[in-house]
Amino acid sequence: MMRRAFKNIPAVVYVALVYLFIFMPVAVLVLFSFQDSLLPIPPFQGPSLRWYQAVFSDFRIMGALGNSLMVAVVSSALSCLLGFLAAYGLARYTIRGSGVVQWLMVAPLSVSYLIIGMGLLITFKTMGIPKSLIAVIIGHVVINLPLAFAIIYSQMGEHQANLERAARDLGAAEWQVLVLITLPLLWPALLASFFLSFTLSWDEFIIALLVSRFDVTLPVEIWSLLRSGLNPKTNAVGSLVFIVSIILVFVTEFLVFGRRKSQ
């Protein structure tokens, strides 16, 4: 046993270094958000909540936070709705070329946000859609729809089709099949794709920067704060964004993997 434990030491050290590398920047960010001086650099003084107070009393940041929440909720809901409809159609009906349709649905996942953002910028310009939060919502639907579709589609297998068939056999009309069988069974997948979309929309920066102007989302606001130099206030906002993301990731994990374990 002892020998085995010693053998494992290099592995443990290696893993520790990897995690240190990954989490160090975040840890530093969070730590210096509690800094009690004007610069977020060592030595650490504090802890103090003064910068959080500053953040919560800054109406620009609070406005951006509200915008971010609104954009995340609306774009995630739209992504889930459209993703569900596409998945239902492709899973339940045999359509000529459905493989191509499916591929085209998921393909945007492989395109960088910068390219999508530029494409949207040009498209919106030609169509006369002004830079606005609505444009950001559309942009976020573009990036999140493939994900929502993929997650929901993967849960609509043969087994679920059989359950829907059984419901029809017992006299259920199409809307009853949808409401009483399909949706309740897809609930975890729908929630998972909603929260995942929410997380991605919540800290998405490039598209939001490119297609918004006066009303901006929180990541864009943080970026403009950063342009005026380092400041523990930006650390505080960043920590807030990070905490919300972490909570969402845990909720998603719990909904998807927690349920799978219990089944």
Partner: protein
């Protein structure tokens, strides 16, 4: 008896492949009807056409006198018991059973009452509040049966429902299905690839192959007097051999075979090549020079295996070298190398249609 299901000239084509060709079939009210055949024979497609999950390419389906050929499943007087049971995992056992009644807008007090009776019928009266995944495979099976029967369908369609169970449980469920069917009197249409299962539970069985009906009739008739080569092979082991018709007198023909000249009931023109079949257990075999009604010559035993109810002997006919299978009674053990005199009752030699 009234016909409950009438299938008239039903065909189903998928592109260029034909899944069913010109099926004509009548199932009487209250009958336990089994569709049996190998996979790909079209039995499941036919069941799906009855249930409304597949539309026929041509032909007509009538259930209880009503043309249902193009009605959706929800509007047919049929319910199904599926192979994977298809119980709703997010509902309790009671809600599963009550689902069909809810869809038919049966008022709650009556619904509760009927669900209780249905669960009682399948022996699960105290399971109503359980979750589906808390039940064993056999219990899920019963819930599926109760759910399908509680709405009092005219016809219950069973899509290989016993396929996933182990042998003992399967035999037990067969018995139970038979018992429940006799009790409720509903017409059952049961699809299976297990010919023993079909024979043991059905009043009438239909043997299907390559999208058409090979044979249809009561199990004993289909087994002992199969109509076609396929049905003779599919319904159990058989000794098949060819012969030439030598003569004909009324209902009987004389056939020249490797086993000598045999009298067989049936009709065929003299000179024609015909296929004959004899079931292994119908051959009487003994040492010495015992002579039965129709002597078949001598069998040289090559392999013997014991099956509990009988000894199965593989061997060859001494004169013609034709391979044969026979079944000997438990107490009549044989060993490789033995020579046995074979004979058979005349009516057990079956003339198969070409």
């Amino acid at each position: 008896m009234k016909p409950m299901v009438e299938i008239k000239g039903v065909s189903k084509r998928y592109g260029k492949t034909t899944a069913l060709s010109e099926i004509n079939l009548t199932i009487d009210e209250g009958q336990f009807f089994a569709l049996v055949g190998p996979s790909g024979s079209g039995k499941t497609t036919l069941l799906h056409i009855l249930g409304g999950f597949v539309e026929p390419s041509s032909g007509q389906v009538r259930i209880a006198g009503q043309d249902v050929s193009y009605l959706p499943p929800a509007r047919r007087p049929t319910t199904s018991m599926f192979q994977d049971y298809a119980l709703f995992p997010h509902m309790s056992v009671g809600s599963n059973v009550g689902f069909g009644l809810l869809m038919r807008k049966v008022p709650k007090p009556e619904r509760v009452d009927r669900v209780a009776k249905a669960l009682d019928m399948v022996g699960l009266s105290d399971m109503s509040t359980r979750r589906v995944h808390q039940l064993s495979g056999g219990q899920q099976q019963r819930v599926a049966l109760a759910r399908a029967l509680v709405v009092a369908p005219k016809v219950l369609l069973l899509d290989e429902p016993l396929g996933a169970l182990d042998l003992n449980l399967r035999r037990q469920m067969q018995q139970e299905l038979l018992h429940i069917q006799k009790k409720v009197g509903t017409t059952f249409v049961h699809v299976t690839h297990d010919q023993e299962e079909a024979m043991s539970i059905a009043d009438v069985i239909a043997v299907m192959n390559n999208g058409h009906l090979e044979d249809i009739g009561p199990p004993a008739r289909v087994y002992m007097k199969p109509k076609t080569l396929f049905s003779a092979t599919f319904m159990g082991e058989s000794n098949m051999f060819e012969g030439t018709v030598a003569g004909r007198s009324g209902e009987t023909i004389e056939v020249e075979t490797a086993f000598g000249r045999l009298q067989v009931s049936g009709a065929a023109e003299p000179g024609a090549r015909v296929n004959l079949s004899i079931r292994p257990e119908q051959i009487i075999a003994a040492g010495g020079d015992t002579r039965g009604p129709v002597p078949l010559g001598v069998l040289q035993v090559a392999e013997v295996s014991f099956f509990g109810t009988h000894h199965r002997c593989l061997g060859r006919h001494v004169n013609s070298n034709h391979p044969m299978i026979i079944r000997l009674p438990q107490h009549q053990a044989a060993k490789p190398g033995d020579k046995l005199n074979m004979s058979v009752q005349q009516e057990d030699i079956v003339l198969l249609m070409q």
